[in-house]
């Protein structure tokens, strides 16, 4: 069970394994380990094996695509027809989706069986997976620690080899930060590359789905499946189909890596700083040159984000009212009572806090001071990146300021929790692609993530930069012990 997507696709192509066999193996590991990790909310072996059998039948007729038969787990934020789709919330704890998200359709069309739906922070609001209604996910490297969030279940299941890959979503770092904390590779594409249709909205102008896997090469293969125009999402970009693997083998000689000085200051842990410095040294060895860049407004990204994301969320989550689907409070005396109790009981504390922040910043008299100001800062932050990309090809830095923290350590302190996304949020505000890949371990054996940030539509370049690093290092091959 140490195979990558790439390796599994070769096994299937050569007839050395069937999709049913692979799926059974992974389902077996899920059954053995999920009660420890709580990475999956829903597993349905019958469904998985039926899809796997269909994939095998398809391969037998010679109709297989590159990844047909390779199983994958999906974050429980993607609506999948016939599957419970909870978004980590009591509000949707009974919601069996009557339709497929675009991303789910793409994986179905590719013939990739669904291993199950992964646990997540409620409505993707969190950085530790502790806000899930279904309980926290444990970090496979140390089950007393958090896996990061919000795509914590996806990150943990890939790290623990319960799935070869998983989908995630990233609004402020929700793919990259858990990828870093669990020692895997995860990519958030340019906003608009992956359709948001059927991906339950948190903050619409920031949300973006992406792959989480062991290697950059796997992420490229998966992005080939996920990416693509979708007429049902007005923000989906109509672009020519790309092969994200096309530049993987390119040597890095002459590559200009931008190092933002703001990412290496106070707040960054010593071990992480050291691992990132070593990665930089490795890149120099590979022929890249480094250049210091400035992202002066990025220090304001957390503040701007905690206005914009809650504002959009407060509106996006208004549809959860107990009328058409989902949870409805059992007892109520009138309509308002039904609304207020349904929402008070159906949402967890963090979601309610964010709805209230969002409601406040949009309310009469505060809109300009908060919402508009935050949108102006967003522009300044995006402009910083545009300046930086005039002198470099990719930007490099840490993904998270620290390695995985202990369960409960920040659970009661939203502000400290929010600061764990300090290096990732600016990327979402600008709409740029970013990724995280393993670059070492701290003194306690916990993985450290290296963040790469590309220019708009620079996914193939970024994947090339990550892949070349992974050819020269073996951090991404390390597996947690005892798992």
């Amino acid at each position: 069970m140490t195979s990558t997507i790439k390796q599994l696709s070769i096994l299937l192509a050569e007839g050395k394994a069937s999709s049913v066999e692979l799926s059974r193996d992974y389902l077996g590991r899920i059954q053995a380990l999920n009660h420890t990790l709580n990475a999956f909310v829903t597993v349905d072996p019958d469904k998985t094996l039926a899809e796997a059998a269909a994939a095998d039948a398809r391969r037998a007729t010679g109709q297989a695509d590159a990844l047909t038969g390779v199983p994958i787990a999906h974050k429980d934020i993607f609506c999948a027809e016939g599957w419970l789709t909870t978004c980590g919330s009591k509000m949707l704890s009974n919601f069996v989706s009557p339709y497929d998200a675009h991303v789910i359709e793409r994986f179905k069309a590719a013939g990739m069986p669904c291993l199950g739906k992964t646990n997540m922070d409620e409505f993707a609001m969190g950085s530790s997976n502790e806000t899930s209604f279904f309980g926290p996910v444990k970090n496979p490297w140390d089950t007393a620690r958090v896996p990061g969030g919000s795509s914590g279940g996806s990150a943990a299941c890939v790290a623990a080899r319960l799935a070869p890959a998983a989908t995630g979503t990233d609004t402020g770092g929700s793919i990259r930060q858990p990828a870093a904390l669990c020692g895997i590779t995860g990519l958030k594409p340019t906003y608009g590359v992956v359709s948001r249709y059927g991906m339950i909205a948190f903050a619409s102008s920031l949300d973006q789905g992406g792959p989480m896997a062991r290697t950059a090469e796997d992420c490229a293969l998966l992005l080939n499946v996920m990416a693509g125009f979708d007429a049902r999402d007005s923000t989906s970009l109509e672009r020519e189909k790309e092969d994200y693997t096309r530049d993987l083998a390119k040597p890095l000689a002459g590559l200009r890596i931008g190092l933002p000085r703001e990412f290496f200051g106070a707040g960054l842990s010593g071990d992480t700083a050291k691992a990132v410095e070593e990665a930089i040294a490795q890149y120099r060895k590979l022929g890249a040159e480094t250049v210091e860049v400035g992202l002066p407004n990025s220090r304001l990204s957390v503040a701007a984000y905690y206005v914009l994301a809650p504002a959009e969320a407060s509106s996006n989550l208004s549809r959860f009212d107990g009328v058409r689907y989902g949870y409805r409070t059992p007892e109520y005396k009138d309509l308002t009572d039904m609304y207020e109790k349904t929402r008070a009981e159906g949402f967890g504390a963090e979601v309610k806090r964010r709805i209230m922040i969002g409601t406040y910043v949009l309310s009469h008299g505060y809109y300009d001071a908060y919402y508009i100001q935050a949108q102006r800062l967003r522009r300044l932050i995006a402009n910083d990146f545009a300046e930086a990309f005039k002198v470099c090809d990719v930007i490099l830095g840490p993904t998270a300021p620290t390695t995985a923290f202990k369960l409960g350590e920040k659970a009661d302190d939203p502000v400290q929790m929010y600061l764990s996304d300090i290096y990732t949020i600016a990327v979402n505000l600008a709409g740029l692609p970013g990724m995280s890949l393993p670059c070492g371990f701290d003194g306690q054996g916990l993985p450290i993530g290296l963040q790469l940030i590309g220019d708009y539509f620079g996914e193939a370049k970024m994947l090339n930069v990550a892949h070349q690093y992974q050819l020269a290092t073996d951090w991404h091959t390390r597996a947690p012990k005892g798992i």
């Binding site: 102008s205 107990g322 409805r328 800062l377 939203p414 502000v415």
Partner: protein, 95 residues
């Protein structure tokens, strides 16, 4: 700035979230902590900066005017809390 208990109650009401007297104080503390973080942005002079609503500066795509959606009432209402005669039922609405 900081939110008063009344602010907390007002926004909870606007957001249709029941907040008890006991909970209100807890929300007040935490929300004010978060606003402490947010307030840092007020120091920045953003005069003349165009607000940014979208990641890409693009125009809305337009859909041809055609009926493409079939009737799926049965599937949709199978997951509804309360329906009758094809209608979603809610506590009496008084106009």
């Amino acid at each position: 700035m900081s939110l008063s208990i009344d602010d907390v109650k007002r926004i909870a009401k606007l957001a249709r979230i029941r907040v008890s007297e006991d909970e209100a104080a807890g929300y007040q503390t935490r929300l004010n902590g978060i606003f402490g973080l947010i307030e840092s942005m007020q120091a920045v002079d953003t005069a003349g900066v165009e607000p940014m609503s979208h990641a890409q500066d693009l125009a809305q795509r337009l859909r041809p005017d055609a009926v493409t959606e079939p009737n799926r009432r049965e599937a949709f209402q199978a997951i509804a809390p309360q329906v009758e005669d094809g209608l979603y039922l809610v506590p009496k609405v008084i106009e």
